[in-house]
Structures are given as C-alpha cells and as structure tokens.
C-alpha cells in the first residue's frame, strides 16, 4: 500500500503524554476534541489476503463490522454482520452494502480472524482564528492481543488549502519530540505477526525467482520446496474445511509437483523420483473425491439455472445427497491427511530435497537455464502436435489428453518463467490460457455428464422422488451436452490462435535461443 499523501503517522514518544501534546498544539490552534473511542477489534481477511490486496482492512467488533481504506483510514462502510468465530463467508452477512462489497472480492473464500487489537483514542480538530478546521490530529493507542505495551500513534490529516497550518503542526510536533515515523497499521501487522502471519505472505500463484546460473538440482529443489510449503500451509485449512480453496490450492501444488517429477527427469536420482511420484500420486488420489464433489456443489447455482423451474426440486434433492456424500469424503480425507504415513512422506520429501544426493543424477549439475528451455520447448511441440489433430469430432478422451499436455506446458513455463523476459512470457501464457480455458470448460462439461450418467444408472427404481430426480438429471444432461457441442465448434479457432506462426516463432525464440548459445 502507498502512504496516503494527506496522512502522516508518528510514534508518540514515551516521555510525551497526550495531554502534553495537546497543550503544545493549543498554544497556536483552537482544539475541538471528539469523544474518546475504545474497542477491541478482530481484523479479518481471506487466507490469500484478498481484501488487503484491494487496499482494504476489515475488522469486527462483536457483530459490528467496519471496512476501511488501509492508507487513509477512511471508513468505506460500517454494518452489522455475523459474529466472527473460526471463519465466515460473505454470504453470512445480511444483504446490504458490506455484503455487496465483500462478495465479489472474496468469492468463495472465507474470512479468517487475523490480528486482535485493542484500539483507543480520539480525533481532535485544529481550528484557526475563524474557528475553521485547518487540520485534524488523531491520537490512537493500538495494542495487539498478547503484547505488553500499546503502540501510541499520532496521525496528522491535512485539510486542502491549509498547507501553512499543517507545516505549523509539524513544527509543533517536532518540537514536542514527535519524530519517529510509524505505519498507521502497526497494530494490525504486529497482531498478525503474533499469529505467525504477515500481509501478503500467501498467494496461490507460483512465483519463484530462479537464478540462471543455479544447477538444475538446486533450482528444482527450490521449486519443489516452494510447492511443499504451499501444501503444508493449506493443510490446516483443509482439515478445518474453512472453504474449498484450501483443498484446491493444495491439489494444484501436488499436481505441479507431480508434473515436475515427470517433466524434469534425471535431475533427482531415479529411485527418489519414483518414490515421490508415488507419494504425490497417492496424495492426489485421496484428495480427489472431495474436490470433485466441491466442483459439483459449486456448480449448483448454475446447474439449477439450466433447468425449468418444474424440474428444479429434483435437482435440489440430488445436490443435497451430494453434500452428504461430501461430508463422508471429507472425513476420509481428514483421516488420510492426518495419517502418520502422509506426514512422514512429506517430511521425508523435504529432507531429501535439502540433502545432497549420494549419487547425483546425470543432469543434476546442468545449469537450469539450459534445461529449462529444452523442457518447455518439448512440451510446446507436443501440444502443437496434438493440437493440430483437434477438430469438432475429436473424442472427449483425446481432448482431455490435450488439456493435460497444456497443463504440463503451463507448469513448465511457470517453474522457469523467472529466467525469461517477462513481457514475452506473459504474451505466451495469455495465448495458452485462452486455449486452456476452452479445454477446461469442455472437460468440466464432459466430466459432469459422465457423473450424471453414472448417477442415473445407480438410481433405485420406483418412487416419485427418484422419478423427479431422474427427470432433473436428464434435463441437465441435455443442457450440458448442448453446451459441450457448442464449445467443440470453437476448438479449431482456439487452437489456431495458439498454434499460429507468430506464437510458434516466439516460443522458439524464447526457449530455443539460450540452448544454442549454451
């Protein structure tokens, strides 16, 4: 966040009392003090800091929620809401301004309590001889829970057109010994730190700066350790089942690790690679069922929208059953994730990566820059080869295979992205993403139909309820199939955009050149 031009913040030195400060200001200004405030507030944000990224802070005081601008401290909206226990979602808020602001930012992510801070202070208006406000001073004490001493802050808010008066205030403050500049969010950041967090310390995006001179072994170890960190950090959220994104992020990190192990051969010793391929394959497998059900449940609204109202009750019944199944799967997932075997395997992975290999693999010492271009280019060629065969009649399974190829290419580009010029890389990623989006949507539709067909097969015969469900599922199948057909028509053009000469040339230029020069 940038510092708001109108607000300056300093620490109030221990030797100076608030009364002393105000007395010094009273020598040159009239003072108009607002009533004192004081409250213990709990700051909340999503695990990936979605509000903070928007420059917002949100805190709750009981059921009273305040969303404000982090820099200026200006309140955007203050409203009633749920009491913040372990977590809550945007939809838990009553309809109104706050919910409207939170929903698009948070999406399906929940709010988690961050820092607990006791805030107290008052605002004082500084008046000139016309009793006109020419500046505002806020003296505030911020005491994070568990800390011994409060941070005592003085903030100066200027009023436009009264610069000379503000200079006078600054001079008076300096003369009174107020000199140490502080962050107005010090209570918040210190409180987060007490909980082991710091703003923007988690992002689902893979971002790792590689050094081109690193050996392949060193670079891959850092890549895997970054992914392992993502896995470990998401485990508590998965166990507590706060929101579906924890599991999703965890699974993406697992998938990236598996891709790494299969794409980058001969950098880790063969037996190590094989062993951990199995570990992560197992992790992927036992986290799958819950995630699949999450995906269906997240599509509930849009599925209901596909059906005429008369068929909807049958579908609601179907989703209710699915939610029950998810609960069962989640329990199994928790058990598997907590199991000693899992914990031990992840620990072993970490130790293996940090340790020297007894028998280094053939390519372990190769500069990562040389390896990277080769891998990305190979994946690209594979996508282009399979992609050219794509047309409106391609069977679902082959479309799926191309989708996986694209994913591998994407992961390879992400792993080694920091070695290449940013702008060109982003262009390529953008083109790839467009193709991936179409293939991803297509695959979702395909998987959903498959699941519906399976459900239909196992539906018991007889009752009115199953008839309703069957009708709803039939209607849904029809709608999904139709959309899937429509997507097919776009295959050729989507791929044409990706596989054109320009993109191909750029791929070769970016990932081929370095290899030659090496």
């Amino acid at each position: 966040m940038t510092v708001h031009p109108g607000a300056d913040t300093w620490l109030l030195p221990d030797s100076l009392s608030v009364e002393g400060l105000l007395a010094a200001l009273a020598a040159e200004f009239g003072l108009e003090s607002a009533p004192e405030y004081g409250a213990t507030v709990v700051y909340a944000d999503s695990f990936d800091w979605r509000l903070y990224q928007q420059g917002c802070l949100l805190h709750s005081h009981g059921t009273c929620w305040t969303l404000y601008h982090g820099d200026s401290g200006e309140v955007t909206v203050q409203q009633g809401g749920p009491e913040l226990q372990a977590s809550c979602r945007a939809r838990d808020f009553p309809p109104g301004g706050l919910r409207e602001l939170l929903e698009p930012v948070l999406g399906i992510r929940c709010l988690l309590p961050l820092a607990t801070v006791h805030l107290s202070g008052r605002q004082v208006r500084l008046l000139n001889k016309d009793d006109k406000t020419v500046a505002r001073i806020v003296v505030e004490s911020q005491q994070p829970a568990g800390s011994e001493r409060p941070h005592r802050l003085v903030r100066l808010f200027g009023v436009r057109g009264y610069g000379r008066d503000q200079e006078n205030v600054r001079r008076i403050l300096a003369e009174a010994g107020v000199a140490e500049v502080a962050s107005p969010l010090i209570g918040f950041t210190e409180g987060c730190r007490a909980m082991g967090r710091s703003p923007l310390d988690y992002s689902p995006k893979f971002a790792l700066e590689l050094d081109g001179g690193e050996t392949a072994r060193e670079a891959m170890a850092r890549i895997y350790l970054t992914l392992l960190d993502t896995i470990n950090r998401n485990i508590p959220g998965v166990l507590a089942d706060y929101d579906p994104e924890f599991l999703h992020d965890l699974r993406v990190a697992v998938r990236r690790t598996r891709s790494g192990l299969s794409l980058v051969k001969q950098v880790l010793p063969g037996p190590v690679s094989d062993r951990f391929s199995r570990v992560f394959s197992r992790l992927g497998a036992f986290t799958g069922p819950t995630r699949d059900l999450d995906v269906y449940l997240l599509a509930q609204e849009s599925c209901l929208g596909r059906l005429p109202p008369s068929l909807r009750p049958g579908l609601q019944e179907f989703f209710a059953g699915m939610a029950r199944r998810r609960q069962i799967e989640q329990k199994k997932l928790v058990r598997a994730l907590r199991a000693k075997k899992t914990r031990a395997a992840l620990n072993a992975w970490q130790q293996t990566l940090k340790r020297r290999d007894r028998q280094p693999a053939p390519l372990a010492g190769m500069p990562v820059r040389d390896l990277a271009g080769r891998i990305v280019l190979k994946r690209f060629k594979r996508v282009v080869r399979d992609g050219h065969a794509l047309d409106a009649a391609t069977p679902d399974a082959e479309v799926h295979r191309l989708r996986i190829q694209c994913k591998k290419l994407r992961y390879a580009m992400e792993f080694f992205g920091s070695l290449y010029p940013r702008h060109e890389l982003q262009t390529l990623v953008r083109h790839l993403k467009q193709l991936q989006d179409i293939l991803g949507n297509f695959n979702d539709l395909s998987v959903q139909q498959e699941m519906l067909r399976l459900t239909l097969k196992t539906l018991p015969a007889g009752s009115r309820r199953t008839l309703d469900q069957a009708a709803a599922l039939g209607g849904l199948l029809q709608s999904l199939f139709q959309e899937q057909q429509e997507l097919r028509a776009h295959f050729t053009e989507a791929f044409a955009q990706f596989g054109d000469e320009e993109t191909t040339a750029l791929f070769h230029e970016l990932f081929g050149k370095r290899q030659e020069s090496a």
Partner: protein, 247 residues
C-alpha cells in the same frame, strides 16, 4: 460526474443556503464534492469560514488549471472542498469578454476538475449576464429555488426566455419551492398552479429561522442542527435530485 448550478435571477430566494446544504449532503453520501462560490458577496465561503484567497480573482478563475487547484480549500467536512469567491468576481463579465469562445469558458475551466470530483455545485449570483450563459452551458442541471410569489413567476419566465435565446435546453431547469410559509394562502395557491409544470420537485424547503441563523453558527444547517426540520428538508431535496439526475 455532474455539475449542478443553483440559480435564480432573483436574489434572496435561498440559493446559497441550498448550495451549502446540498453540497454537504452530497459529500455525506460518498461523493467527492466541490462547491464553487461564484457570488462576489462570498456568502457560501463565509458559511464555511473560508476566507477569500489572496492573489486570486476573476481572471485567475478563468485561467483555470493550477490557478484554481491551488486555491481550493477543504471544508470542515470530509469529501467536501470549495473554491471560495473573490470580490473581483463582480467584474467577471469584463474578464469573460476578453476570452475566446467566451460563453464556454467556465465549462472548459471545470473540465479538469470533473476528474477529481464526483459532483460540482455552483452557487450562482442573481443576474442574467455572460457569466450566467457560461453557467447554463457548463451545468447538467440548473436548480432554481422558487419562492411561490408572482414576482418569482416573472423571473422564471425571464429565465426560460433567456435559455431559449441562447439555445439551451429548458429541460435542464429543475424547480423547487423555497422559503415557503405554510400559513400564507398565496404560497399554497402559487405552488398548486406551478406544480402543473414539468420538473418541479416534491420537496418543499420551509421558511425557517434555523436556516436564517446559518450566518450565526456558520455551518450547514444539517451539521449544526441535524435534528431540525430544515435539515430533514434539505436531505430529502438532495435525495430527490440524486434520483432525478441518477447520480
């Protein structure tokens, strides 16, 4: 973004009280607002306790740009700034006459301010001059307070005739009744007949000692006396205008 000019050819109809209170509510409802005091008497500036800036006047106003930006002052209320008036505005027509495209000058001067402010409210002097023409050209809405008397009716006819003369859309004009005294039968009758016109707001601002006393406490009536009937009337007026202009 919208520019609202509070205007009437007649003086003493409550223009400044309206500008000051509307600007206050506009800022209260999350819209960064600039109040431009165009009246050389500087009453709006006085109400906000803002003194006329030194080295500022009609010519600087018409130059625009940094000459204006440097002289904008924050009021006591968050989100509400104002450009105070200067006594030299009384000669503004002479200065305007020297400008090229003299009837569009104000509009040009306001253009860059529209990026910073959600709403600009003009407190206009009571006359029909080249400045008025500028104001009508620049404004999205000409808000005219009307005391329901025959003389007011006359001044309204003059306003519409002038707009016709300079080729401005008469639909820019929005009327509301100001300084209304319930016990006066004539007020009620005039209001009834005037309501047959287009674009007459429902809200009526009563004649009120609380509004008259604004000069004593030097604050918007809603800031000084938030529970007063006058404050409620201005708030309701603001809501009606906001809905009408969809701002």
């Amino acid at each position: 973004m919208s520019v609202i000019a509070v205007y009437n050819i007649k003086g003493g109809v409550g223009k400044t009280a309206t500008s000051v209170n509307l600007a206050y509510f506009s800022a209260q409802h999350h819209g960064k607002t600039l109040l431009l005091d165009m009246d050389p008497q500087g009453s709006a500036s006085f109400y906000f306790r803002i003194r006329p800036p030194k080295k500022f006047g009609a010519k600087k106003l018409l130059k625009g740009g940094r000459h204006i930006e440097e002289n904008i002052k924050g009021t006591d209320y968050p989100g509400l700034d104002m450009l105070p008036a200067d006594f030299s505005y009384r000669n503004i027509d002479l200065a305007l006459d020297e400008c090229r495209k003299s009837h569009k000058r104000l509009s040009k001067v306001l253009a860059p301010l529209q990026e910073e402010y959600d709403r600009i409210i003009l407190d206009c002097p009571p006359n029909l001059t080249l400045l008025s023409e500028n104001i009508f050209y620049a404004a999205d809405c000409i808000l005219a307070p009307v005391i329901p008397t025959t003389l007011s009716l006359l001044s309204l006819e003059q306003l519409f005739a002038f707009l016709d003369e300079i080729g401005q859309d008469p639909d820019k004009v929005v009327l509301f009744f100001s300084m209304v005294e319930k016990r006066k039968k004539m007020h009620a009758e005039m209001m009834r007949s005037l309501r047959e016109r287009n674009r007459v707001l429902q809200t009526v601002i009563p004649y009120s000692a609380d509004i008259e006393r604004m000069g004593v406490y030097r604050q918007p009536v809603a800031a000084a006396l938030p529970a007063s009937a006058a404050a409620a009337a201005y708030e309701s007026l603001w809501h009606e205008i906001r809905d009408l202009l969809a701002i």
